[in-house]
């Protein structure tokens, strides 16, 4: 039996990626990283900033996502996100720009805990990508 399922990543502007032969996807879900295999239970969750890993026969792809929603149903994993970048092809200047922007955000006073958590998460991820 094949262990593959379908992955669709959709941007507001276009369909970002569609793959039929995915074996595992690691998503940075809101309440912790989540690995999704075939025949996972139907689930809806959303993403926090992090690295999305897609495993298929031909290897592994890494994407940086800032936010989004995932839905898994009938062995189709749909990811709706407005900001996703392939880690290997990502623009360095965008990264550093985004990093400094987010750091500025963090220094603001009127943040609630949830936002503070999301922002510091984002900074960590951005830093880890830049240092690689």
């Amino acid at each position: 039996m094949s262990e593959e399922f379908k992955l669709e990543i959709v941007n507001p502007e276009k369909s970002f990626l569609s793959k039929e032969d995915v074996t595992e996807v690691l998503v940075p879900a809101y309440e912790g990283d989540m690995g999704i295999l075939k025949d996972h239970i139907s689930i809806i969750s959303f993403l926090k900033p992090g690295i999305l890993k897609v495993f298929s026969k031909n290897g592994e792809d890494k994407y940086y996502v800032e936010d989004g929603i995932i839905e898994f149903k009938d062995n189709i994993l749909s990811i709706l996100t407005s900001s996703i970048f392939n880690v290997d092809k990502i623009d360095r200047s965008y990264l550093s720009q985004s990093l400094s922007d987010t750091e500025k955000l963090l220094s603001k006073e009127d943040l609630d805990d949830q936002n503070r958590f999301l922002i510091s998460q984002k900074i960590d991820v951005l830093k880890s990508i830049t240092s690689n």
Partner: protein, 291 residues
Amino acid sequence: MASLDDLKKRILSVKSTQKITKAMKMVAAAKLKRAQENAEKGRPYSEKMNNIILNLSSGISDKENAPKLLAGTGNDKVHLCVVLTSDRGLCGGFNSNIIKKAKAYFSKITSEGKNLKIITVGSKGYDQLKRQYNDKIVNKISFKESKNINFFDAEKVSKIIIESFQKNEFDVCIIFYNKFKNVITQIPQAQQIIPLKSSETGDENEKDNYEFEPEEDEILGNLLPKNISTQIFKAMLENSASEQGSRMSAMDNATRNAGEMVDKLTIQYNRSRQAAITKELIEIISGAESL
């Protein structure tokens, strides 16, 4: 009767107008193709988003405590109308069709004694509405600088809407835009986005058992603002395809009309030239006879 010289000038000027309209038609056709592609590419996102929200809202157990963006404030007093138009003119009935639809709605709700607030997106809509509804317009947004429609612009609009919703400044939000059917037909649409129409959420024949992480309420609370951006983005995409389609057919008409005008003027020019020659001949002949 106009002199020959005047006619010649007019023919020339109509011809150069025709050149311009022809070029505009070509440009619109090229842009239309791109806008149409964009609209099609953007469809999966909004469809998926809609599906997820449907599943979520049918799964929500406690309707009373549902987020206000879904259920509404319980009032129906203040209507916020977001009118999406273009930033450029010369596109046939495109803008006036939306405005007409919006105005009909405005007069309906004002006659019902409800309050009206307007946000215009695109400068043409503001130009047409400011005369009559200037005191109602709370905000005007224009994206003249951004060349292509992008999601950030849509997010800006939805941010304004949501912020004002959280301040309880309105109860119902409706967006007006043109839905692209084909090049000749664009249908002005009024779509209610806050609260989400129950007719769209009433589809309960397939209930899926989803696992939610975190809780439904929290996901909905996060998703609904996104959905508003998505809906606005969709409307903007449809609008831009409609705008180009409308401009294309308008310019096509204009080119054809200019062609007809050139033909008519040319006939008139030839006739008066002929008349002038005949007149001269008669003068010569009658002069010769009298000798």
